[in-house]
Subunit: 205 residues, 2 copies
Amino acid sequence: MTIRFHKNDLPDLSNYNVDAVAIDTETLGLKPHRDRLCVVQLSPGDGTADVVQIDAGQKKAPNLVALLKNRKITKLFHFARFDLAVLYHSFGVMPEPVFCSKIASRLTRTYTDRHGLKDLCNELLGVSLSKAQQSSDWAAEELSPEQLEYAASDVLYLHQLREKLIERLEREKRTREAEACFRFLPTRAKLDLMGWEEADIFAHS
Amino acid sequence: MTIRFHKNDLPDLSNYNVDAVAIDTETLGLKPHRDRLCVVQLSPGDGTADVVQIDAGQKKAPNLVALLKNRKITKLFHFARFDLAVLYHSFGVMPEPVFCSKIASRLTRTYTDRHGLKDLCNELLGVSLSKAQQSSDWAAEELSPEQLEYAASDVLYLHQLREKLIERLEREKRTREAEACFRFLPTRAKLDLMGWEEADIFAHS
Ligand SMILES: Nc1ncnc2c1ncn2[C@@H]1O[C@H](COP(=O)(O)O)[C@@H](OP(=O)(O)O)[C@H]1O
Ligand SMILES: Nc1ncnc2c1ncn2[C@@H]1O[C@H](COP(=O)(O)O)[C@@H](OP(=O)(O)O)[C@H]1O
């Protein structure tokens, strides 16, 4: 596993002449208005990952933001809703277009209610992910080797998962519905930041 | 109140050279796969309404369907999610574009959790709606005068509500979010018919 570690930003975008970039974020918790962004992980899909540590109060990351803004590159997330909210809140940029492996899983793996990244990697790729570092102090000044490895592992398999899930969506003729969900995700994330994080905006009551 | 009653279809579309049509449906219950469509109500927004009784098993209604298919006419609903599912299930046509007064209310009337049509008419228009006929036998061969009046009243105020709610959305700078929600509604309705009616597809778990 090749992990490139950086502070504050990607040094350049030379590894990201790709059609899809896998992205994940680590924060101090689940509330973007309270819990700051600490780490952004990215992978171009070649088995390598960039782990970018973000400073408290950091508002700029020009290379990262340029990548997020590039609409020719699909952004692959697992549970995009959360990462979109975090990235929009931190840098004011909404990454689009989006593919979300949790939604694709919900729409295809109807035989289970386990749609965690670990479950997907396990079943679809035969890869076993450790989640031991998930709840750790991501704002630590120095990230541990275990944290770096965990952070990287959260983006290393998203390209492969996307391939498998696209096949499933096609097989079950649910590609259009998935794409409509992906298109709505930026709004869903904005509504979270605006205060509708608890509500299913589409519910009757 | 002018109510035009029809069996099976609108006689023609001469009243519907409009930019927005208000639509509501009455069914035998809340499950489209079980509970058939009984009545479709429409209003061009001039204080009159058409009430169209639909037969059991009826698959065609050419004028109605032509109106629903006309993308130049915005379809105004209260809780569009349900009516879209019913109309798509009954006639195979997805009405678009959509405005939904329940979603617009959720996004603007944040001081209350009462987003029923009755609540909206009351607060925004000073109009008091009776909901007495809501749970009645809409598959009856002959609809009562009370049913006809109730059915019509469900579409008579939607144009005025839209105006008020558009103002509120603008005032609170939430128009874009509302429009994105409206654009997703057809997919939300299809997912209901496909079996995801219980799930918030955007939830973490
Ligand atoms: N309510 C919630 N519960 C658990 N995880 C949540 C969550 N809201 C957002 N998340 C994010 O969803 C990811 C876990 O998804 P899943 O459980 O499907 O594998 C976590 O990312 P990390 O693994 O990067 O910390 C976490 O940040
Ligand atoms: N779970 C639910 N509970 C109540 N009403 C529901 C519902 N799902 C769909 N609806 C529809 O939503 C409408 C009521 O919305 P509200 O409560 O916001 O006024 C009803 O229309 P009708 O009044 O045409 O019967 C009903 O058909």
